[in-house]
Amino acid sequence: MSALAGFRVIELANERIAFAGKLLADMGADVILVEPPGGDPARAYPPFLDDVPGPERSLWWWHYHTSKRGVVLDLDRAEDRARFAALAASADVLLESEPAGRLARLGLDHDDLRKLRPELVFVSMTPFGRGSANAQTPVTDLTILAGAGPAWSCGYDDHSLPPVRGGGNQGYHTACHFAAMSALTALFWRLSSGEGQFIDVSMHAASNVTTEAASYSWLVAQQTVQRQTGRHAAIVQTQETQMLCQDGRWVNTGVPPRSPADYAALLAWLRELKLDADFPELVFLEMGAALEKPITYDRIGVDPEATAIFAAGREALALIAANVSAHDFFIRCQRRGVAVGAIYSPEEAFEDEHFRARGFQTRVTHDDLRRSFRYPGAPYKMSATPWAISRRAPKLGEHDQEVFGE
């Protein structure tokens, strides 16, 4: 069975909160997506099926609205407001990210709806939180991640290049994670108390507490981290961790080798690739392999021998990387117990044998097109209440009759 079977969620369509609805819908909640006449603007977001635009062809829409039903309501009309109120009165959770003040003007804010449905968990997810002086300030994923901290920490060693906004709408995702965690926390409490409540999630605050050491280095010690290429922003510059492989792809080498076993493995690998003759620092690797215990960080830069061995380990990794593919580097290092990663593109990861073997790829039927497509799958494998996409994203007004006829 589904973890959220029997719970009804009303989602007021908005690109910002779509992912929160999906998180609940794919766990079995009956999520009813409410769009305005003509449809939500995100229906016009690319990419499109076969690159042909159309309100039912947006792959953005397909992804973010799986497992939901869809209805159309014109909340500027009294009749539809009454329908919306009736729908909310039948619901367990309401998800909204409307422009500031709109729901209050329509008589559909928490104060109005709780009178109809005291058990309702009303989740408001807005750019800066309800009541902010910036409530009317327009935002995008980019401006959220710029203001809230993530962009400051991402980019390159060369600070003449701008800070970088990480790709994939992660500012929206982070806020939606908090909206979903909040809804679940409140639902759990409702199961024993019978009471609903109002939850005010700030997108800006959500990304502010998702910056790891950037925030707490300041909170604890008033220190400012500085961005670096492909690795943690830090107070003091650290060594590069990305290396370029023979196939033009990059790898993240993680923590550099420091143990005798690491050095022995590197030696063997260099010899297997017949690169040992071209590696002037071979003698230091041999010394590393003969060490009795790992090199500790405090000796690097102080003890000349330890420093030379440590540097030779990194050089050996770089030489091997330049002579093998990123995939081979990743697999061979990991099999030797060295934690590295290939820097895959999303589709390379999706097609990788590990995720295929775990059943991550999920087939979704589009009955209307008489086709099925592979979708990203479960974020977690739950043994009793498995994640599942129960249906493709709804067409505009597809479930009007079904929902309002109930």
């Binding site: 973890a3 977001y45 792959l59 397909w62 939180g129 002086a133 994923d141 980019l142 401006t143 710029a146 203001g147 962009a151 920490s153 991402c154 390159y156 701008p162 970088v164 906004r165 990480g166 790709g167 994939g168 908090f178 926390t185 759990f188 108390s193 609903g196 939850i199 700030s202 800006h204 959500a206 502010n208 507490v209 280095s217 604890v220 010690a221 492909g230 943690h232 922003a233 990059w250 993240n252 993680g254 117990g337 934690a339 990663g341 820097i343 895959y344 999303p346 990861a349 590990h354 073997a357 775990r358 991550f360 979708y375 990203p376 799958g377 494998k381 739950m382 043994s383 009793a384 209440t385």
Partner: protein, 416 residues
């Protein structure tokens, strides 16, 4: 602040978590639960002084003191939890853990795959101890699959799942994420999984096992890009991509991070549509903005490199907060790239987000709070992370009925 005499209820009061989580990917999950009133009992190894969690003794530090009780990150991720020690190499340690599991709703861990099983507490054994137990394991590649034995930390998860690749500028190496985004986010998915399992158990009485792989959770964060691949066959690895300061879905221009006056000062600007452009142009108020060649999105996209040069030329001499003010007043999405001190101490929109907790050794320290305000069951963070074994007397006494003398003896024997 809540009135101490009339506190609001805690959403997760009565939930007990037997918690092996550490670092951030695990500890972040149980931090959320603890903030809402769950009793999170964090178990650490006395032999290694809890150093399995590499953050235990690592800075930032509040002052000159060093050691396992002074790690700023450890405190940040473990507020409101209880801390006990158990040496699971000993039979007595295993007996005590068994008793604790019997009285717990969930067992949570983010060890490498298979570690808890090897300690004798795999899911089958947990279910014997308590049939409705919820067990949530969290590791990089999950408990099964070809890479289950591979080791990860946040940047490795981000590399293998496509997140590192998707963050960067053209003709540059991947910029990736300058922090463990997937340690935070893996923790959020772990918290969701625990809550989903708790809801299911409350309604049906049934427990379960959740196998969370951080790489899989990360892969779900590329939805449109993956469908562009599976439906249209278009890879993200292609000429000109990634260019993550620009926007593909939907396309916007200008859209980027531009230089401002001062050292390493930047501002983000996004014109969502032609209306935003018509609002931006009069603020820039330069002759070139009147050129009808820039009036449409298609034209701006076609000339985006040149457009970015011109926008940069306008921002370069200006203060980032002044640009933010003027563009926001005009209705254009805009934000200064805020530095940590600016957003923590001088941003009205983060007020209340950084609670001060009291740590038994460190004293008063500010930590990351939670960005959700609950009207009926607010989160609370007042107690700092536990020192090693700080709550041994409390937990072993209150839950397992041991006397202070028994606890002292266990310490003598190396069990705790």
């Amino acid at each position: 602040m809540d009135q101490p005499m009339n506190p609001k209820p805690a959403a997760l009061a009565g939930v007990r978590i037997c918690d092996f989580c550490g670092q951030l990917a695990g500890a972040g999950a149980t931090k959320w639960l603890a903030a809402f009133g769950a009793e999170v009992i964090r178990i650490e190894d006395p032999v290694r002084q809890g150093r399995w969690d590499i953050l235990r003794g690592v800075g930032p530090y509040v002052d000159e003191r060093r050691g396992i009780e002074f790690g700023g990150g450890f405190n940040n991720h473990n507020v409101e939890k209880l801390g006990i020690t158990l040496n699971l190499r000993t039979e007595r340690g295993k007996e005590l853990l068994t008793e604790l599991i019997r009285q717990s709703d969930c067992v949570t861990e983010n060890f490498a795959a298979g570690v808890l099983e090897r300690l004798g507490f795999g899911y089958a054994r947990l279910k014997e101890i308590r049939p409705d137990i919820i067990y949530v394991s969290n590791c990089g590649f999950g408990q099964v699959g070809p890479y289950a034995a591979f080791k990860t930390w946040g940047p490795i998860v981000q590399a293998v799942s496509g997140l590192t690749f998707a963050s960067g500028l053209p003709d540059q190496p991947p910029a990736g994420w300058g922090y463990s985004y997937m340690d935070h986010t893996g923790g959020y998915y772990m918290a969701m999984a625990i809550l989903l399992a708790l809801i299911h158990r409350k309604r049906t009485g049934e427990g379960q096992w959740v196998d969370l792989a951080c790489t899989e959770a990360a892969l779900t964060l590329h939805g449109p890009a993956l469908l562009d691949w599976t439906v249209n066959g278009r890879p993200a690895r292609r000429e000109g991509q990634p260019h993550s300061n620009r926007n593909q879905w939907p396309a916007m221009a200008p859209h980027g991070i531009y230089p401002c006056a001062g050292d390493d000062e930047w501002v983000a600007i996004a014109c969502r549509d032609d209306d935003d452009w018509r609002r931006l142009a009069p603020v820039i108020a330069a002759p070139w903005t009147d050129d009808p060649a820039w009036a449409t999105l298609d034209a701006r996209l076609a000339g985006q490199d040149a457009l970015d040069e011109r926008v940069s030329a306008w921002t370069r001499g200006r203060d980032k907060f002044a640009v933010q003010k003027h563009l926001r007043e005009a209705g254009v999405p805009c934000s200064a790239v805020q530095k940590p001190g600016e957003r923590v101490d001088h941003d009205p929109d983060t007020e209340g987000l950084w609670p001060t907790v009291t740590h038994s050794a460190m004293g008063e320290v500010r930590v990351d709070g939670t960005p959700a305000r609950f009207s009926a069951t607010p989160w609370r963070m007042t107690r700092g992370a536990p020192c090693l074994g700080e709550h041994n007397e409390d937990v072993f006494g209150r839950l397992l009925g041991l006397s202070p003398g028994d606890v002292a003896a266990l310490r003598e024997e190396g069990v705790i």
